[in-house]
Amino acid sequence: MTALVVALAVAVLLLAVLVAGLLRSHAEILKALHELGAGLELDRAEGPVDVTIDGVRRPRRSSSAETADAVSGQTLEGEAVALSLTTGTDTLLAFLSSGCTTCGAFWEAFAEQQVQVPGDARLVVVTKSLDEESASALAKRAPRHVPLVASSSAWEDFGVPGSPYFVYVDGTGRIVGEGSAATWPAVATLMGQAHADDAHRNGRLSREGRDDAALAAAGIRPGDASL
């Protein structure tokens, strides 16, 4: 009997040591991931954050409309800009910050001369306005060949919950996908999927649907006086 009790006590002790070791290694893994900047910096977002990193979200905006005409703001060179999202060219809006750890991977990826953007979309980086951002820090990170617009109002218009965040807009100003991930290849995959899904849906559009799309491309929306 005594031997059984001793054996059980030893077994419990060994299990306790094993559990403690597992907990410690788990904590070390989490700490290492945090130091590497993994995870989204969405903790600064106001209100609930509805972002998935393993799929493309259903397009959503702060306003009721799911279309966007333009992004207006300022460049780092002091130029006033109003970039149209309805010129017929798809646009990928990359909402980034200079101080966000996760954004670092995107600044580096965009520094490559030939950034492969899904759907051959135009890549546009959108930061907060320069009274809320560091112009010098942005100048160090932002590649010259990628358009950058500093516009806090764009962040509000698109209901951006935090950085990094991406919105794919087709050439008629229609938002076809949005969301976030920790790396550019992951974002490119998600946005490529959104673009492909949209193309697939459009491929099955009726003639009426294609006519609507053509009218939207010409700037004529439902309720337009010319109709």
Binding site: D69, A70, G78, V81, S84, R144, G219
Partner: protein, 151 residues
């Protein structure tokens, strides 16, 4: 969507985009002159004052507009005697009015002053044979443009 810079305000029609900046001033302390570009295609960051880098990419339906401000002291010169934003007529456009002749393109240039500020307006159309539609599209932009006097 509006673009408001240095006293010039554009209410951009759908499908237009614009960029505006002040050119470096020749006189220290004086405000630089405005250079404004608008187009119906995406405007690259690097482009010439009169559209090089942009007009090469215009499609037949597209339009490029450059509004180039001169020194206020030039407003008294005969070149800028016309007052108010110009009315663009299709017959004003010519394939010979381009900085560099490009097959099928068409251009027009106007000198005028608004609110005591002298300007040159340079417009390039993607297709000379479709200049009536192009001129109307450029006019739609000018009708939504206001220029204010600056100190």
């Amino acid at each position: 969507m509006n673009l408001d810079h240095a006293g010039v305000r554009l209410a951009l029609p759908t499908g237009w985009e614009a960029r505006a900046r002040l050119q470096p001033s020749n006189v220290p302390g004086r405000r630089g002159n405005l250079l404004l570009h608008a187009a119906t295609i995406p405007l690259p960051a690097e482009r010439g004052d009169f559209g090089s880098g942009v007009v090469e990419h215009l499609g037949p339906e597209d339009v490029f507009v450059s509004l180039f401000e001169y020194d206020a002291a030039d407003a008294g010169k005969a070149l800028f005697a016309t007052k108010g934003l110009p009315v663009l007529r299709p017959s004003d456009f010519s394939t010979a009015h381009l900085q560099r002749t490009q097959l099928g393109r068409s251009g027009g240039q106007w000198f005028f002053q608004v609110a005591g500020r002298p300007f040159c307006l340079f417009v390039v159309l993607g297709s000379h044979s479709r200049r009536a539609a192009g001129a109307a599209r450029a006019t739609a932009l000018l009708l939504r443009t206001t220029v204010k006097e600056l100190a």
